[in-house]
Structure formats: structure tokens, C-alpha cells
């Protein structure tokens, strides 16, 4: 099939261009981050002569990015821990245990999946404010847990459905309580799913803008993404330092991409094949 082979080669050209268009923006940003202000104004495209870390240091210290990092890290770590704990508990019960109301509860979780944050953000902010949770860490953590719990429960339930009922039965006959089965059997068997769902949850929370903007109004509580936006105002006349801040904020994500790409892809596709 020579036609087929030709078509494949013809497709390779636009695909290579697109791959370049995918990579270049970040390369450009990294290059700008290495330039002095003067170099940038004179010629923003030429490769920066040497690796200069001054801008990175300035963005890190001058904009107080360390604080934003810590805020984001604490909130995301707590939220993901709670999501995985509650998600796996509910997923185990909904997939392996028979109890009155289980299908209604599963449908309720599914319904939660189809309510976008934008639709409930006004009343949710009010509920949080009335409970004194706005501008507190527990408030933002709870908001993230609420936002991504339906997704987590759904994926954990469909993962635990693939585990044969005999395993649970055998563990029960050995004298395990339901909680014992959860702890000794379900948690270890859930690890692959917990890993890919956890990474996705972490990405969602880490990258979020809107929820954090609403729940954490004061500057010292800013998460990293809100911090990057604040950087824009602070360094509007110093683009290389701004680019450095963007680069610093992108580094953890680049790491995740480099090392955990497969798990992310697994999580994304789990929804499509099991849905």
C-alpha cells in the first residue's frame, strides 16, 4: 500500500510542526528567564548566552514564592490524602458490600460529578463564609475535597468492582471485620488506582485558580497559581523576572509530567472506558 505509506509521511510533517508548537512556548519562556532586562529589550529571541540564575532568585525571593509554594503544598497534600481515604472507603462499600440505599448513594455521587463548580460557587462560598471557613486552610481543603470527591469515588468504585467477590468472602471467613477487609485487602489492592487518581486529584488542586481565589482572599494565603498572577503586576516592566516566576511554578508540573505521565494517562482514560 504505497498510498498509505505516503500519507503517513505527509502526516508526519504537520505533526512535527505541531510538536514544535507544543514545546517552543516553554523553551521561549525559559530562554527569556535567562536574559537580563537589557538583553530582552534588545533581542528577545536570541539564545541567552549563559545560564543566569539571578532572575530566578529574584522571582523566588522578591515575590515571596516560597510562601505560595508552602501554601499550595500543604493544601494539596491534605486534600489528596482526604480524597483518597474517603474515596476508597466509599468505593469499597459501593462496589463490594450489599446494603440498603447503595444504588441511590452511587447515583448521588454521579450527580455530584455533573455539577460544575461555577454553578454552585455562590451558595458554596456563602456556606463556607457562614461556617467561618473562608480564608482558612481547612476551608480550602474542604472545598477541594468536595469538588473532586465525586470523581474520586466514581473511579475507586469502578476499580474495586474489578476485584472478585471471593477475595472479600475469603477474608471475612478468616475472621476479618469489614474494616479489617478494607485495611488489609482493599487498600493494598487499590494502590494502582489510588496512585493514578491521586496524581490527577493533586494536579487538579495544584492547578486550580477559581476555588482558591474565592476561598483564600488574603495575600498571605495565596496558593502558587494566584501568586503567579500577582507576579504579573509586580514585574510588569521586568519580563525576564516574570518569566522566571512562571518557570519556577512550572517546574513541579514538569517533574510530574516526566515521571508520572503514564499514571496520569491511566487516570484520564479510566473515565472513558469505564464510564
Amino acid at each position: 500500500m504505497p498510498g498509505m505509506r505516503l500519507a503517513r509521511w505527509m502526516a508526519a510533517v504537520p505533526m512535527a510542526v505541531l510538536a514544535l508548537a507544543t514545546i517552543y512556548p516553554l523553551v521561549f519562556t525559559a530562554n527569556v528567564a535567562m536574559k537580563t532586562r537589557r538583553d530582552y529589550i534588545l533581542d528577545r529571541f536570541s539564545p541567552a548566552g549563559s545560564l543566569r540564575w539571578d532572575n530566578l532568585a529574584e522571582a523566588w525571593a522578591g515575590a515571596g514564592m516560597a510562601r505560595y509554594f508552602v501554601n499550595s503544598f500543604v493544601v494539596v497534600a491534605c486534600a489528596v490524602f482526604l480524597l483518597l481515604l474517603l474515596g476508597s472507603m466509599a468505593g469499597f462499600a459501593l462496589s463490594q458490600l450489599r446494603f440498603r440505599g447503595s444504588s441511590v448513594i452511587f447515583l448521588g455521587c454521579l450527580a455530584g460529578l455533573f455539577i460544575p463548580f461555577q454553578v454552585i460557587m455562590v451558595p458554596l462560598t456563602r456556606i463556607m463564609a457562614d461556617s467561618g471557613l473562608v480564608d482558612t486552610y481547612p476551608g480550602l481543603i474542604l472545598a477541594y475535597v468536595a469538588q473532586y470527591l465525586p470523581f474520586t469515588v466514581f473511579l475507586m468504585t469502578s476499580h474495586y468492582r474489578t476485584i472478585p467477590a471471593e477475595i472479600v468472602d475469603a477474608a471475612r471467613i478468616d475472621g476479618n471485620t469489614v474494616y479489617g477487609v478494607y485495611r488489609r485487602i482493599m487498600l493494598p489492592l487499590g494502590v494502582p488506582a489510588l496512585l493514578s487518581v491521586g496524581i490527577l486529584d493533586a494536579l487538579f488542586c495544584w492547578n486550580d485558580v477559581l476555588i482558591s481565589l474565592l476561598m483564600m482572599p488574603s495575600p498571605e494565603h495565596r496558593t502558587l497559581m494566584i501568586g503567579v498572577n500577582a507576579l504579573r503586576g509586580q514585574y510588569s516592566d521586568d519580563i525576564p523576572t516574570f518569566a522566571s516566576g512562571v518557570l519556577i511554578a512550572a517546574i513541579p508540573l514538569l517533574m510530574i509530567y516526566l515521571f508520572l505521565q503514564r499514571q496520569i494517562a491511566d487516570g484520564v482514560t479510566a473515565g472513558s472506558t469505564k464510564g
Binding site: M1, M4, R8, A11, A12, A19, T22, I23, P25, T29, F45, M89, F92, A93, L97, F99, S102, I105, C109, G112, P116, Q118, V119, I120, M121, V122, P123, L124, T125, I127, V145, A146, L149, P150, V153, D169, G175, T177, Y179, W206, N207, D208, V209, L210, L213, V228, N229, R232, F242, A243, V246, A249, A250, L254, Y257, I264, A265, V268, T269, G271
Partner: protein, 304 residues
């Protein structure tokens, strides 16, 4: 299943207290998740709809009937945001076709397909804020994109400053940032494809276009349906970060989307009830678009 219940009861017979704890265990396991989802997702939906029929400011809490909805209908900013939703729906096939086509080529093992697969996925992990910040640099008046245009004698274009162009620019950036996700979903769909079908089509001398139309699309209906719906939801609910850092709704309000309008009315204008009405409209729009898509795609699926 009944038998399993009996066995469980035997196992936990040690004490009546233990048996009761066992019976309650499933409820204990689901309780925290149910509580959070009901109180912080389902209940707010009811509350919000209720809220949209009350007033703001001095009228806080008192019923005002449909006046919030009437105000929305008359607000040019909200009308722009709905028009932009229409634009997103029109651009949706493009946003689905790009990853679909790329996945097809990768599946057909275009030279370098392994590299492409992971390169394309890379922007998908970046946050909208980082993507927006990067593209603020890329799309500057003397930035790289205009330099490329300049080298072929075109441009420069004011990507984010021209009200007629800015919305297309933001959607383009959104597609750049998200097509990798859809690509991965498509590839997962391809992995369930019956390879012998494809071989048979090739044996019969089918062209690439015929293969796509008559073999790939019919066998991937479910995947395509999923990508359509999730891409639409993504466009309607996850462009806030881009709008926030790239345009702030401007120029001249031309890049408003309902989600930005809701945030603006609630947070900046202190009009939570009006914002709730906009939320309700957004929810209805999403339901209608989602259901329309599903019925439409079902019908085309059945024809094949």
C-alpha cells in the same frame, strides 16, 4: 449475594455488638463522602436556584421573582458571554477533530509516533495560569508569533487587544493546552479497536479517508461521544484561569464567558443573587448542550 451476607454474619457472630457494628459498617464507610457531597455539592445547587429568585443589596433575601433573569437578559456583558458559548459550541468539532486526527495518525504509526504521543500530552499537565502567562509572552505585539507572521510578510496581529480576535485567541490557547488529554482518551479507544477490521480494509485497498470514515469513526462512537461531552464541559468550566490571566474579560468585554461573569458579579460587583441566576442559566445551558450532543451522536452512531 444473600449467601455472602449470611456468611458474613456467621463470621461476625462473636458478639451481638460486633454483628451490629458489621451491619452498620457500610454506612460508616460511605457516610463522610455522602455528607460532603450532599452538603457541599447537591445542597448548594438547590440553594443557588432558590437564591436566584431573591434580591441583592437592600433587597437581600427578599423574593424578587424573575427580575434577576430579566436583568441578565438585558445585560450586554451576559449576552456577550452567551454568544461566546455559542462560538465555543461551533468550535467544538475542531477541538475534537484535532486530537482525533492526531490519534489516528499515531495509531497508524506515523514516523516518530511514540515521541509525538508524549510531546503532545505535555501541555495537559500545565495549569491555565502558567499556560496563560506563557502565551501572554508568546502573543505580545512583538512576540514570537507575530515575528513568525512578520517573516512571511503578514501581521502583526493584536491577538489579545482586538475585540474581534481575542476570543478566538483564548479558545486557541485552550485547545493548545488540552488537546493532549483528548488525544490520550482517543488512543485508549483505539486500543480497543479490532485490528483485523483495519487490515481487511487495507487489503481491499481502502484509502486513508475511507478507513477513517468507514472503519475508525463507526467503531469509536463511544469514545468520540465521551470526548465531545468532556471537551464541551471543559470549554464551559475550565477557561476561567486563562481569562483571568490573559484578558480579564476584555477587550471591551469581548472575552466574557458565563463563568467569568458569575465570578465578576459575585466577587467584584457584590451581586450574589444575580450571579446565582447566571449560574442557573449556565447549568441549564450545559444540560441542554450535553443532552443534545448525546442524542445527536447516538443517532449518527445508529446509522452506521
Amino acid at each position: 449475594m444473600k449467601q455472602r451476607g449470611r456468611r458474613a454474619r456467621t463470621a461476625a457472630r462473636s458478639s451481638s455488638h460486633g454483628a451490629r457494628a458489621e451491619r452498620l459498617a457500610p454506612y460508616v464507610l460511605v457516610a463522610p463522602a455522602v455528607l460532603i457531597i450532599v452538603v457541599l455539592r447537591l445542597w448548594p445547587l438547590v440553594l443557588g436556584v432558590n437564591f436566584s429568585f431573591t434580591g441583592d443589596g437592600e433587597l437581600n433575601g427578599s423574593p424578587v421573582g424573575l427580575s434577576n433573569y430579566l436583568e441578565l437578559a438585558g445585560d450586554p456583558l451576559f449576552r456577550t458571554s452567551l454568544r461566546n458559548v455559542g462560538l465555543l459550541v461551533l468550535l467544538l468539532p475542531v477541538a475534537v477533530a484535532i486530537p482525533g486526527l492526531l490519534a489516528t495518525f499515531i495509531y497508524l504509526r506515523v514516523p516518530g509516533h511514540r515521541v509525538y504521543r508524549s510531546v503532545y500530552f505535555f501541555p495537559a499537565v500545565l495549569s491555565p495560569v502558567i499556560v496563560g502567562a506563557i502565551f501572554n509572552l508568546m502573543l505580545g505585539f512583538d512576540g514570537p508569533l507575530n515575528a513568525v507572521l512578520g517573516s512571511i510578510g503578514a501581521g502583526p496581529i493584536d491577538w489579545l487587544g482586538d475585540p474581534g480576535i481575542a476570543m478566538f485567541t483564548v479558545v486557541g490557547v485552550h485547545i493548545w493546552a488540552t488537546f493532549g488529554m483528548a488525544l490520550v482518551v482517543f488512543l485508549a479507544g483505539f486500543s480497543t479497536l479490532d485490528a483485523s477490521l483495519l487490515d481487511a480494509a487495507r487489503m481491499d485497498g481502502a484509502s486513508l479517508r475511507q478507513i477513517i470514515w468507514h472503519v475508525i469513526i463507526p467503531s469509536l462512537t463511544r469514545t468520540i461521544q465521551f470526548v465531545f461531552v468532556t471537551t464541551m464541559i471543559g470549554m464551559l468550566t475550565s477557561m476561567f484561569g486563562l481569562l483571568f490571566i490573559m484578558t480579564s474579560g476584555g477587550p471591551e468585554g469581548s472575552t466574557y464567558l458565563p463563568e467569568y461573569y458569575i465570578w465578576h458579579q459575585q466577587g467584584q460587583m457584590n451581586r450574589p443573587a444575580l450571579a446565582s441566576a447566571a449560574s442557573t442559566v449556565l447549568f441549564v445551558v450545559m444540560l441542554v448542550v450535553g443532552l443534545l450532543q448525546i442524542t445527536l451522536l447516538r443517532r449518527t452512531g445508529r446509522q452506521d
